[in-house]
Structures are given as C-alpha cells and as structure tokens.
Symmetry: C5
Subunit: 373 residues, 5 copies
C-alpha cells in the first residue's frame, strides 16, 4: 500500500512541473549579437491593447499596427499599451521603435526568464517583475514594464488577466488612477503583481499546515516527495521575490522627475510588502526544514520500536527453544545413567516447563527494568 502511494506521488509529480529548463531559459547561442531576440517555440501569439485616459474620459482600442499608437501619445495625458504573448517578433520590434526602447532591454523582455531589476534610461524606467499565480502549484511569468511620465508599456508572457482589476479601475474612475500621471499607473501594476504573492503564500501555508499535521500525527502516509515539492515551490517563490527588494530600493533611491513624491510613498508601501513576503518565505523554509528533521526522528523512533519487538520476542523464545532442543536429543539413556536421566524423572516434563517459565520471567523482568516494555 505504501509502495502504491509512493508511485502515485511520483506520477502526480511529473505534470506539476519538476522541470528545470525554465530556470535556465532560452538564450541566444554564445557569441550572438547583443540584442538578439529568441522567440520561444511555445510563445503565445502577441495581442496588443491600448487604453488611454485623462481625468475626464478614456478610450480603449485593440492595436493591429503599433504605429497607430503615436497619435494617442500626442493626444492623451496617459497611454497604457498592454502586450500579451511574446510570439510575434515583428510587432515587438515595432513597439520598441515607437517607444524608443533599447535593444538590450527588448532582449530581456523576450528572452525570459530574467531576474527582476530596474534600469533607468534617459526619460524612461525599465522594470522586470515576476508575476506568481497559485494553481495548486506556483506558476510564474515575467512582467516587463516601460514607463515615463506619460506612458506605460507592459509585456506579459501569457494571456492571463492579472491586470484586469486595474483596467476596471481606469474605466470606472475608481480611486485616483485617472487623476495621476503614468508613474501612478506603473505603481498600480507593480502593486498588483506583489498582491498576487499573498494568495500563493496562502496556498503554500495550507500545504505546510496539512504536512505538519501529518508529521505531528506521525502518519505512515507522509510522502517525502511532497516535502520535496513544497521545498521546490518555496525555492521558486524565493528566487522570484528576492530580487524585487533590491529593485524597489533602487527605484526609490533614484533621483529623477518621473516619480512624484506621492507615488514614492505608495512605492515605499510596496517595498514593505515585498519584505513581508520574503519574511514569510524564509519562515516557511525554516519550518519545513524543521518538519523534515522531525520526520527523520520519527523514522528512527519507529525503527527502534520495531527492533525492540524483535529483540523481546527473539531473546525470550530463543533460549526456550534451546531448552526444548536439549530434551529433544536422542541420547540413549539405556547406555548410562548420565544420559539424560531427566527424561525419566517423575516430574521431568513439569520440571522442563518450569525451567522455561523461569527463563522467560527472568528475561521479562530484565526488559521491564530497562523500561523496554
């Protein structure tokens, strides 16, 4: 039954992404021109949508030809171009031309995964973040942002609607997003990204809690691969979240005109959230490591118990069997009076049984004194 359970675990493991390659990622071959774009074979088709707004009104549009964007840039206070799916090299290049994006930056957008970071170009910021989602495991994707005072360009790998709530807030003029510049919009996107880590941590916490209960209850069903998978997921979250801390600190330290004082207060809040997420991740890591040690101790204890049962039974019965073996010998008592006279005693058999009984009681007393039973 245990073997069966293990096999199931292994099977479950496979589809849940025990694959490393996404960590290294797809790269141009060594010596390639800097700025070479390597479109991944499984990249999704590129969809471009635009939302432009001012304090009073807003407009939404699906973009086919990136050159259309330029008119919006001239006419509207804030323009947000959202690019979903990184499968179409030409569209990506056209957009980078419209916004004057450095070719190394565009390379980082496409050749995922990159570490989270911020880079400052003359009048724009370039930010790389990792979005995390909980679908019974951790799924991450890269979110790249370019923003200035007047525009935000966001690049997502998937077509997931993680940024939909912000779009809703723009449409409904909820909160202050419509009154502020593009830097506030960029903040709102970043913040949403960090907010998404909390449900992931809740997912993790549930798994850790159930694991803890199993281990504390000393359940036979504790699957080592489960612990490993949990460790793996925490490793993934950790790798994703850690660099954000430095990214935000750098962003807050930078002196420039794009970030207003108000937005800085909001970003400081983001920074606190990131530190809180890191703190939680590290705590869970430590906890799991403690659980693992505890599980090892239970294994040792269990072995001890098994050994004790074996030892008690064996050491009681082996001497008894020896005694019975003695009186099973066929020495010819007719040849001499020294040959097994016990066999012919009147109380021979009761004597042998008593001998056995006394031996057993002695051993049981010995075990009791050692507190084995």
């Amino acid at each position: 039954s245990k073997t069966a359970m293990k096999r199931i675990s292994v099977k479950q493991l496979a589809p849940k992404g025990l694959r490393f390659d996404s960590w290294v990622g797809h790269r141009p071959r060594p010596g390639a021109l800097p700025g070479t774009l390597v479109i991944k074979p499984d990249a999704l088709p590129t969809r471009v949508t635009l939302i432009a707004y001012g304090e009073i009104n807003f407009i939404e549009k699906d973009i086919e030809d990136p050159k259309e964007i330029e008119t919006f840039l001239k006419e509207w206070p804030v323009v947000w171009v959202s690019v979903e799916g990184l499968g179409n090299k030409q569209i990506l290049k056209d957009i980078s031309d419209v916004f004057n994006i450095h070719r190394l930056a565009l390379e980082d957008v496409v050749n995922t995964p990159q570490r989270s970071k911020v880079e400052e170009f003359e009048d724009t910021f370039f930010i790389i973040q990792r979005l995390a989602r909980w679908t019974d495991t951790v799924v991450t994707e890269q979110l790249s942002l370019f923003f200035s005072k007047t525009f935000v360009v966001s690049f997502q790998e998937s077509h997931e609607e993680s940024l939909k709530p912000i779009r809703e807030r723009i449409r409904n003029a909820k909160g202050r997003v419509r009154q502020y510049h593009a830097d506030y919009l960029a903040y709102a996107i970043m913040d949403t990204c960090f907010d998404n880590y909390f449900p992931v941590l809740e997912g993790i916490s549930e798994k850790v809690e159930s694991l803890e209960k199993q281990i504390v209850a000393d359940s036979e069903e504790v699957a080592i691969p489960d612990i490993h998978r949990l460790k793996r997921q925490l490793l993934t979250i950790r790798r994703a979240i850690w660099p954000h801390r430095e990214m935000l600190a750098t962003l807050l330290r930078t002196e420039n005109k794009i970030l207003t004082k108000d937005t800085r207060i909001y970003l400081r809040d983001c920074h606190d959230h990131v530190i809180q997420i890191i703190d939680l991740v590290e705590t869970y890591r430590e906890l799991i490591s403690g659980l693992f040690d505890m599980h090892l101790t239970y294994i040792s204890n269990k072995m001890n118990e098994v050994m004790k049962v074996l030892t008690i039974i064996a050491t009681i019965f082996i001497p008894l069997t020896f005694i019975s073996g003695i009186y099973g010998m066929n020495f010819n008592s007719g040849t001499s009076p020294y040959n097994m006279p016990e066999l012919h005693w009147y109380y021979g058999y009761p004597f042998a049984l008593s001998l056995m009984g006394l031996t057993a009681m002695g051993l049981i007393y010995f075990f009791k004194r050692r507190k084995w039973i």
Copy 2:
C-alpha cells in the same frame, strides 16, 4: 503507553495554535484599491478612550464620536487616544480623518499582521509594533502608534490591558510622563511593549530548561512535538522582534523636531533591550537545535543497546540450539557404527552439555573482549 502519550501530545497541540494563516493574514484581493480596509471576521468591536493631560491635571473620557477629539486637541498639551478592537470601519475612518492619517497607514493598521516598521509623515510618526504575551504559549498582536509633539493615537487588536500601567502613571503623575511631550508618552508605550517580551522569554526558558533536563536524563518521555512547538514559538517571537531593531535604528537616525534629545536617550535604551531580546532568542534557538541533536544521538545509542542485547542472546543460543539439533537427529545407529555413536557413549549427554558450555563461554569471552558486556 508511548503511543498514548504521543496521541495526547497531538491533541494538546491543536488548541495551542498550530495554525499558519495568521502569518499570512487577511489581505484585500489582488488588484484592490490601495488603502482598502479588510475588517477581519473575528475582529473585536472598536472601543475608543481618550486621556488628555498637562503638568497639573488630566481628564479621561470614553469617545463615541471621534469628532469630539478635536476640542481636546486644542485645549490640552498632550492627548492620547487609545483604540482597542479593529471591528468598526467607520470609527476607524473618522479617527484617521481627525488626525489626518494617510490611507495606506490606516490600511496597515487594519490589515494585520504587518511587519514592525516606522514611517515618517510630515509632522507625525507612524509606528507598527508587535505586542507579545505569554499564556503558556506566545500570543502576539499588532500595536500601531501615530504620534506627533502633541498627540498619540494607539491602535490595538485586542481589549487586553497591556498599556494600563502607563495610564496609571499618568493618573498618579508618577515619573516624568506628565512633564514631557507626547513623544515621551510614545516612548513609554513602546518600552512597555518591549518589556512584555521578557516574561515571554522567561516562559520559554522554563520550557527549554525542563526539556533539557528530560533529554539529559535520557527520558523515554521526550516528545518530539514538544521540541517542535518550542521551535515554533521561538520562530514566532523572532519574527515579531527582529524588525523592531531596524525600526528603532531608523527612528533614532531620523532628524526631526518631534523627538527631543531626552526621549532619544530613552529610545537608545529601548534599542539595547531589543538587541538583548534578539540575542536571547538566537541563543535559545541554538540551544534547542543542540538538544535536538543530542536527542538523536540518544536514539541511536538506544538502538545500539537494543541491538547488542539481541546479538548477544541470539549469537550465544543459536549455536547451542544447533548442537542440540544435531543430537536430536534420528540416524539409525543400528545400521552402521558411523551413525551418531555419541548417543550411545557412556558420557554422551555430559559431553554434549560440555560442548554447549564451552561454546557459550567462548562467545561470552569474545563479547567481553569487544567490551559489549
């Protein structure tokens, strides 16, 4: 009996808060407006009390409508508004309006748990601390403070009277609290918060000590879940206390007019206490980890002892039983003189017994030389 004990431990474990969710806390859903207040389902009703004082007199009042506070602010040198229980969204908002509290700060007050931190707003400080209490386990709650030169607003999650001694000191004009500004009151509240960690550490230290005695005495009754629970509690204290260090360092580093030179000396003292608490927590952590290793060694040693007993008994009696088995064979000695002539020897039986005795003595000598017995 051991199994019974373990089961009890597991039961005891459950009510003592082996729950993680409080670590992640209740959060607005991803993409929510910054500043969204999420009132927890188990939040206590909000009670607001005010104490205003000058060097000569003081006044206390229960506040129903936060707007009443404004008159006190105008008339008294120092006003302390104490909010206990975070269940009433409207009252919290009204208070934040009176004191002009930033909506992100108010969000941090309500959406507990937050990491301890200090933030500076134009003429106020915003401080988050964690209060710790020892009720045979560690219970923590968030204490949020806003203070300027003339007022302090404190927010507590529970209705616990942790701050009562300060109220007493104000009433009795004990110490210098009545002669100083609101920054000294804020210090006094912070200091009380740190003071509360020492009884917690005493509780922990008693548990560690009794665990140490059990383990050193090599007691059978050492419950692994107990070690785990202790580790857990230390983890909780550690997570609670660590960020205070940075908080106080930041507060002391900040140049501003709110903190007087005198209060800074007192805060430096707080800083020393925090470092001392951290130092103790780390020492206990290391100690428990050492105890755990020691316990593992005892388990191994015990296994060794069990194995030795089994080996000694089994390896002595197995050869003896074999000998008795030989002379229990039924070869027909009538067919040939080679078939078990020993059975018919005059001293056959004594010979067999001597053979067994010699074998046993040889083995016992072997074990003695190996220092097994």
Copy 3:
C-alpha cells in the same frame, strides 16, 4: 549488481577529472622573483593572430614576430591580438613589451589559474576571466584581456575557438562592432565568455533533473558518486563565476576615459547575466543538497521496511518453532502421567496445530494494530 554498478561509476569518475591540482595551479617556488613566469609542462604552443579593423575595412594576419604588431597599431583604429596557447615564453614576453604590460600582470596571465579580477594600469585595463565549456563535465580555462581605446590583447590557454563568432561579426561587419572602439570589442569578448556559462548550466540542469527523477522514483540505482560529481562541478562553476561579479562591479565603478557611456550600458547587461548565473548555481546547489537529504531518508525508510519484514517473519515463527520444539522432547511418558500426556491425547496433534495457529493469529493481529502490515 549494485557493486558492479558502483565500480563502473568509480572508473567513470577517474577520467572526468577528480583531480585537485588544477585548483592550486603551478606556482613559482616561494621566494621567487615577482614576475617569474612558470610555463606549465602541458602548455600548448603559442599561436598569435591579429585582426585590425576600421568602419570600412579589416585585415587579418598570423603573427610570427610580435614586433610586426607595432605598425598595425599606428595604422588601424582598432587592433585585436589574439594569443592562443601559453607555451612559448619568449613570444609572450615580446608581446608584453609591445603593449607595455606590467610583469606582474604577465605573471598572472601565465601562472594559471588565477581568480577573475580587473586591474587598471595607466591607460589600459587588465581583466582575468574564466571561460567554461560543457563536455559532459565542466571544463574551464583562463581568458586574460588587456585593452585600451585602440587595442585588445586576449590570452587563451587552449586553442578552442570560443571567440570565433566575434571574429565572424568583425569580418561581416554584423552589429556595431566595426563602428565602435576597442572597449566595445573587449565587451563583446567578455559577453561571449558569460554566454558560454548558460549551456554549461543547461548541461548541469539535465543531470540534476535526471538525478531528481531517479531519487523521487526511489530507484535502487542512485549512485552517490554521481551526486558527489555534480556537487563538484557546481563547486567548480561557482568558484569560476563568483569573482566576475566583483570584477564587473569594479569595472563599472571605475571612472576613466577608456569605457564609453554606451559600452557601460552593455557591461551593465553583462553584470545582470553574471548575477543570474550565480543565482542559478546557488539554486542548484541547494536543490542537490535537498535531494541528498531525501535520498538519505529513503535509505532509512528502506532499512525500516527490511527490518519490519524480518521482525514479522521472525516473531511469528520463533514462538511456533518453540511449540513444535516442546512436543519434540523425549520425556518418557511411561515413567509418570505428568510426562507429556498431550502426546497421547486423541486430539493431541490437532491441539498443537491449533495452538500454533492461534499464536500466529494473535501476532498477526498485534502487527495489524501497529499498522506494520
């Protein structure tokens, strides 16, 4: 079979470079003159090639006498002298004379391995890097660079064509290399060096993944030496890559006229890559350490299972054998009615068999309750 497999592993291990000496390297004897060159016994013969270029044209030449280089330096905007193989002391000294290389720097070029570093001399930079290649194991070699605004001298230990893609780009005027100064060429060489780490990490990742699958599947075939070899390889990569981080940070921090603003942006990108490589190496290290722990747990679990089978079989049959031993005793029932009357009962044999059956069932019930079977 397992032993056989292990022996094979050990054999495989030997040619794959379980040798330390390359870590310490060949050094002059203590007290030798600073700047002493120690040509390694296995150093390859020195080959010098030159490629000089401007925006419009380029020239390539194999150099026999390093003094030829001087004319090129006068006539061409950028000159790249590539030295492959460090076996010819005289040629190396002649080149260092042409470019005015400090004798300590030349010592570092020849007395490999050195740690990666950057040193600034008046109008040149001296950079040491480690190239890594994946040939089913990690092979590293030292790449030393001297560069100024107008020339680059590169020294490689092997004759490997790692830098061929850059030569191609110069020939085909692909990218901007022909329009920029020598600092961009130096960047291109450095970048190629870092690019080479990603295939190495892919190789490692495949090995880790297959090891992970084996361990999760609890395969008997897990070879501990394989884990050790992987750890070793990661140690090698780690030692190679870590110092590059500081090297690049120093290079970026240095104020000088050699590095243009454009090249700095490109170097910043290199810096990001290095951090990403370090991040991956550390993650793999942690993962392997987790796998090792997991494997240890499986070993313990397996032992537990083996012990259980032994215990179950032994503790069931030992008492049964004892009973059969009793009724195999030869007490003379003719002497007294107390001597084994059971042997003469009508249902004596069925009674004995039932006794055995009941004993066995009792024990099986005991094991079932303990959830051992």
Copy 4:
C-alpha cells in the same frame, strides 16, 4: 555500567549551572517606570572602597557614606571608587547622585545581566563589561564602569578580587598608571577583564582536548552530556565576549576629550585581544561540532559491527539448524522407502555432517568475498 555513568553525569550537571534564568535576568515588571531598580534576592551586600592617587602619593579608604567622596574628587587628580555587591539600593543611589549618573544607566548597573556596551554622557563614559572566571565551568559577572578624565566608578556583582592586581600597581607605582589620567585606569580595568578570558579559554581547551582524545580513541565512555555542557559553556563565553567588540570599536570611533591619544593605542590593543578571543571561541565551537559528527559516525560504525556479528553467526547457524531439524523428523521409514532413507544409510550421519560443513564453508566464503570477515 554505562547507565550508572550517565546518571552520575546528570547529577554532576545539575550543580554546574544548567540553569537558564540568569540569561533572562531579573527585570522590573512590564510598564514599570524607566529607571526602576530591582535588587536581586541573592545580591551581595554593597561594599565601597576608594583609592585616590596622583603621581607622588595615594590614599585608600573604605567608604560608608558616599558623600565623603566629594572631597576626594576635589583634592586628588584621579579617584577610583570601587563598588562590590549590588544589594544596597540606597548606597547605589547616593553614589549615582555624587557622580551624576543617569537613572537609566544605574538601572543597567543593577538589573543584570545586560549586554556589553558603551554609552557617552556629557563628560563621562558608561561601559558595561562581563567578567569571566574559570572554576571548572564558566562563571560570568557584570562589571560596569563610569569614567571621566578624573574619576572611575566600577560596579561589580561579586566580592571577587579580580581587580586586585591594578590596585597593587597603583600602590607600588608600578607601570605608568600613576602618571596618567583616569582614562588609563579605566583602560587598565577593561584590559584586566579581557585578560581573564584567556585562562577560561585554556580551561575550555583542556576539556576539548580530553574530549577529542576520548572520541578519537573511540571510547565507550564518551558522555553526550559532556559535549552538551562544553557547547553550553562556549555559548556563554560567546554571548559574553561578542558585544565587547562593538563596544570597543564604538569607544575608539568616538571623538571626545576624555580619551588621550596614548590610551587609544592601548585600547586598540584591547580590541585586538577581543578579536582573538572571539576567533578562538568560534574555532572551538566548530571543532566541537566536528567532534560531535565524528562521534555519531562511530556510533553508526559500532552498530554496523554489531549487526555484522549477528548476521554472520545467525546466517551460518540457521541453515545448519534447519538441516539438523530435517533429520530430526519422525517420518516412518517403515511405511515406504521414500520416508527418510538417509537415516538408514551406512554413512548417513557423516553425510549430514558434511552437508552442514559445506554449507557453513560456502557461507563463510560468501562473507569473506564481501570482506565482512
């Protein structure tokens, strides 16, 4: 015997201070007035002695009423007031009045243990140190110093004469203490405090060495509680010495008029000693941890040996016993020629014995090939 030894160890353990409470210390209850003095129940009675000196002469006096001190302060270049025992609250308060000691500082003097630190008040320094003594275990006590250019006040918990050598040097005008200011005296006291750690480390080193010899000699007598006690003692020393490093660094960094340039050179020397002590403590900690691992390996090896002996004896004799069991069966050879004809063979018994001998030899060969014997 082993159990007996263990019990003795546990008894020895108890009086050697396996108590934690001194780590947390006695504290005022939470919310108490800052500056509250809590006299410990076991505090020793306060003894105050004064020694005043100039370059030419000196005077010593036992002080009953602290107000006497003021006249000495006016008349002598340097006054050293030594307070031993912290049991008398009134005397302590009087002394603090004479020297204008801040109430928070006095609280730190009395409410031991505090972490070592330095604090600067207007014209005095306040220093907390831990004195360590070796009495077969580590005993520490708090030494608090206040000093200015003209006076030193030292507070010790015990009546131990740790500072006697300095008093002797003042009396005999040995060294330069009589020519220098009070800052040199303060240095001399601090230095003596650090000097006392070296005998402690020598004591530790002897214990570690004897433990190491025991473990390397693979002695049965290795007492795990001994390792634990040693770890504990190192933990105590470590906690005591570490903060001194920061204390001295802060003291050396501070710009002020109290410390002369000469004294700074001497304090720099102290700083080196502290670093050396820390270095030794960390080295011993690492060594002990290595010894512990080594001991665990020996336990495992021993278990292996025990198991091997059991396995060899059991697997040789169990098949032999089986063979003897076969020929002990009572099949009626009269009924059919198939029923145990061997029993009636001419060489039946020798055949059986040979069969057993061959089986045993085969098994021994198998074990030899596995290098078990």
Copy 5:
C-alpha cells in the same frame, strides 16, 4: 584488523599535533602590566643578523650587541635586521630600543600566537604575519615585521630559513630589490610568506584527493580520524590566512609616505594571492564536508546490505525449520488417527520436503519482487 588500523591512527595522531594550547598561547597572568614579555619555556635562543645594502654594494654581519646597528642605520640606505628565535629577553628589548618600538608591539612579537594585523606608528609600520610550512602537517609560526623607509626588522620564532631566497636576491642584486627602498624589501618578505601557503595547499590537496578516492571507492579502510585531522589542518590554515586579508586591505588603504606607488601595485598582487588562498581553503572545507556526508551514506548503505542478507537468510530458513520442527514432534499416532498421520504416509517425507521447497520459493519470489535480490 579494522580495530588495529584505528589504533595505529590514534597513535599517529598524537605526534602530529592534536594539541590546542598553541591556539591560546602563553599569556601574562590577568592584570599584568601591559607590555609584559613572557618568554616561552621552549623559545629558541635569539640570533640577530644584519644585511645592509644600497644600489651598488651590500654588507652582512652577525650582531652580538644591538647597539652596533645604529651605525649601519646612519651609513646605509636600507638596513634589514633579522631576529630568529625569541628566547633572549634582553636582546629583544635592546633591539626595540634601537628602533623605538612600542612596548605593546614588542609584547605582541613575543607573546605568540597573535592574529595577523597591521599597526601604524608614527614613521613605522608594524605587521604580524603567520608563516606556514608543510611537513606532512601544517606548521605555522609568527613572523613580525617593523619597517620604515630605511629599515626592516623581522622577528621569527624558529631558525627556519624561509627568508633565505630574499637574502640571495639581495646578494646577487637579482630583481629590483637593491634599487628600491625598505618598503619593497618588506613587500618581498610578506610575499614570500604568502608564497609558502601554496605548497601547504598542495599538500592538503593531495591528502584530500587520496581521501576522496578512498571514499568514492567505498573502501573499508576510511579512517574517520584522518578526515578529522584534515579538517583540523584546514582550520589551522584558515585561522592563519583569514586575518591577512584585512591586514593587507588596511595597509593599502592607509595614506602615508612609507609605501611608494610601485610597492602598492606589488602589494595589490599579494592581496589577490591571499584571496586566492582563502578561496581554496574554503573550497577544500566544503569538499571535505561533502566527503564526510558521502561516507555516512555509505555506512548506512552497508548497514542496509548487511540487514538484507540477514533478513533473506533468516526469513527463508526460519519457516523451513518450523516445518521440520512440526514433523519432529512425538505425538503418538497409535493413540488416534489424528495424531500426525503424515508421518506414515507413503510419500510423507517427499511431501514435507516439497512443502519446504515451495515455502522457500515463495519467499524468494517475494524478495525478488521487492528487488532485494
């Protein structure tokens, strides 16, 4: 045989310096005057030699009376006084008078071992280094240097000729030592000191390599004390080399007139070597720790194998022996037809043998399915 080998190891261990006391060293008793010299009982007699040189010529002389040195100091550009053996207190004091050495510095020269450090006195530098030598184990001694622009005084504990190569270079005017000031000579001495670590690391590397081969080959002969001794030696090297890093960094950071720009370039090279040595030491430490883990796994695996053999043999033969035991019972088949009728069957014995054979085959099949055999 294994026990024999272990005993030899232990004996070998003793002379190879498993002694701690040299770590703590000989110190003045607590409270002694600062600057007290404690001549070690085993200190070697002091030998003083002088070598003075300029660009054109040089002179060498054995010094009996340190006062002679003063004339050389006046007449020659560079004077190097080499003191070997620290046994003669008076000569040491006389030399310190000639060169105006601070008494605390002289104390550090004599009271070895001290941590490596640099201290700046008005116009001299005081440097403490540790020389390391490989004599099948690591032997270290203290090398203390005082140097200014015109002289170097070196103090060595032993009479070893570690600095002979430099003397040779001065005699032969090899390299630039004769053209430079005393700071270059000091550099040359320091550099030689670091050069001596590489042969030590080669010695270590050979030991590690042979240990690695043993462990990978899973040899029975792996001696745990060997691993421990290696760890110990690395600990010694580590303690010796680490402080040099800070020492050199401090020396390079210091602004002064003694160190010329040229010498600084050479010292930067020393700094690189030190970092390389540290890097190697840390790598070896990590490797050994990995080897230790690997060895533990082999021990566990071996135990598993032993247990498997026992389990297989025992669980096959125990049931068979039981069957033979049954048919060895003496139930009287004459009393009733139920009493062991099998004994009288025509095919009774073949039936019993078949029953045994089937049982054995069943068990073997069970083990095969579990992949135990």
